[in-house]
Each structure stands twice: as C-alpha cells, then as structure tokens.
C-alpha cells in the first residue's frame, strides 16, 4: 500500500473521476471492515459501518490535509464514525456470567478450550467502558502501536498508555476468576 498511490487516487477523485475512488475502496476495505468488526463483532454490521465510513470519506475528501497520510486520516474518520455508531446502538455483548462458551465448553478438567477462552477475552474487551475499549481495540488493531492508536483516536500517546493500562487492569480483575490457564490438550 503506497501513500503515493493514495494521494494520486484522491487527486483524481477530486478532479471529478469518481471511478478512482474504487481503487481507494479496494485498497482499504480490508482494514476498515476489520476495524469495524473489532468494534462490533458482527460481520454484517461491520460492513455497513465500513461502507458509511467510505461514504463519509468521499464527502470529506477535500478536507484531507496532506500533513498526515491518507490512511491516518481515513482511520481517524472511520474510528470516529464507529465510536458514534456504537454509542448510538451498543454492540451485543454477553456478560461473562452468561457467556455460553463458559457454561458449555469446559473440558473435563474444568478448563476452557483455548478458542473459547480467546472468544471470552475479546467479548470482555467490548464490555469495557468505551474509553478503555476504544484504546485497546485501536492498540491491537494497529499491531500494538501506541502512536498509531493515538492518531486514530486523536489523543496524546500518554492518554492512550494510561487507558491501556487501566483497561488491562479491569480485564485482569474480571477474567482470572473465570479463566484459568489453558490446559494443554493430551496427545
């Protein structure tokens, strides 16, 4: 993915060539849909949110200042939209007590299958207060890059670090009571 390609496509769109926007969509559809999916854990909704993000990007393309890369601008725009959407209609989360994975997927020794445990941890992130949920979602989406998460959220890096720390603290307090170490499967 090249920033030069993005810039060239944006210039073409701004000069009236709407078809050039398709290159941008194809280049960024994966990341934008995946980011949305991490926020809502619902594939259909993730695509709807990503489509709306692209549409808003198209409308606001002229407002992109070239001091940041197109992808930074696009992620910030999408993140804002996703957060508003989740505030409007919160994602369907299952409380840890009611999670079917916890009730039904215990192995004989009482532990959880690894896959189920991972699922529960990801659900637990969604149930965090939004400011911690957003910081954690963006941090892991950007391959644990605090600076990138900070840019997407429009916050200082220090704030992101503090929220990550607090978010992890909350998760640690919630999870160990229910999830022990995954037991290795017998050969």
């Amino acid at each position: 993915m090249s920033a030069t390609d993005d810039q060239a496509d944006v210039e073409r769109v701004l000069s009236g060539d709407i078809a050039a926007f398709e290159s941008l969509v194809r280049r960024w559809q994966g990341p934008l849909v995946n980011l949305a999916y991490r926020f809502c854990r619902d594939r259909a909704r993730a695509e709807d949110m990503a489509q709306e993000a692209f549409l808003r990007a198209y409308r606001a393309l002229g407002l992109w200042r070239r001091d940041a890369t197109f992808s930074t601008w696009l992620f910030a725009l999408a993140t804002n939209l996703y957060r508003s959407e989740l505030a409007r209609i919160p994602p369907r989360t299952v409380s840890l007590e009611d999670a079917p994975a916890l009730r039904d997927s215990r192995t004989i020794d009482g532990g959880l299958e690894e896959r189920d445990r991972d699922h529960v941890v990801r659900q637990a992130v969604l149930s965090l207060p939004p400011k911690y949920r957003d910081a954690m979602t963006l941090f892991y989406f950007h391959d644990m890059d605090v600076a990138a998460a900070a840019r997407s959220l429009g916050l200082p890096e220090g704030t992101i670090k503090a929220r990550l720390s607090r978010g992890r603290e909350i998760l640690r307090a919630k999870l160990p009571r229910r999830i022990g170490t995954v037991q290795p499967k017998e050969a």
């Binding site: 926007f21 969509v25 559809q29 994966g30 849909v33 409308r59 992890r168 998760l171 999830i179």
Partner: protein
Amino acid sequence: MMDDDLDRILSGDDSIVPSSGFAGSVMEAVRREAAVPPALPFPWERALPGLVAGIVTLGSLVVASLSASSADLSPVPVPEVLVASAKWAIATGAHWVTLALLVSYLAVKFSLRLAGRP
C-alpha cells in the same frame, strides 16, 4: 491473566475478509451520492437586507421598550431614527419577517447538520 496473555490473545484476533460485493456496494452508494445535486446554499443575497432591517428593528424595539420602562427614573433620549424604525417595523410587520428568516436559517443549518454535511 497476565499482560502477555492478553497481548497474545488480542493481537492474534481473527481477520475477516469483506464480502465480494462490498466494494461494488460502496461504489454504488458513492455514485448515488455524486448524482445528488449539491445542497442549495442559503440565499444570503436575498435574505441579507431583510435580516439587517429586522435586526435594526428589533434593536429599536428593545431600546424603545427599555427607555419607556425606565422613563420615570431616568429618561433616556431615544434617537429619532430608532423610534421611526420601530414604528415602521410595527406597521409593516418586518419583525415577523425577520423572525421567519432566522427560523428558516436555523432549520436549514440543523437539517444539514443532521445530514452530516458541513
């Protein structure tokens, strides 16, 4: 659960692949958007004289009513032009025109905001 466990679980999150028609669907929406004529700008040129007249009128009315209510204590001389403007506004209903223009303007701004346009 340790931070390392969290990092491993949350970094190894599953990725999904957008459905095959996703890009087409986005482009369809973009083309629809592009086909919509641009929003009508607020007709400032037509509205401005009315707005100015209305503001002058409302100001005159305020000054006139203030001076009338405090006339017994400290009579404030009201400029003749303001009194005349106030009389003219009341006679012609300009204050209502001003109010209507302001309400229309606010309604347009509010609608554009709801539609997500600047």
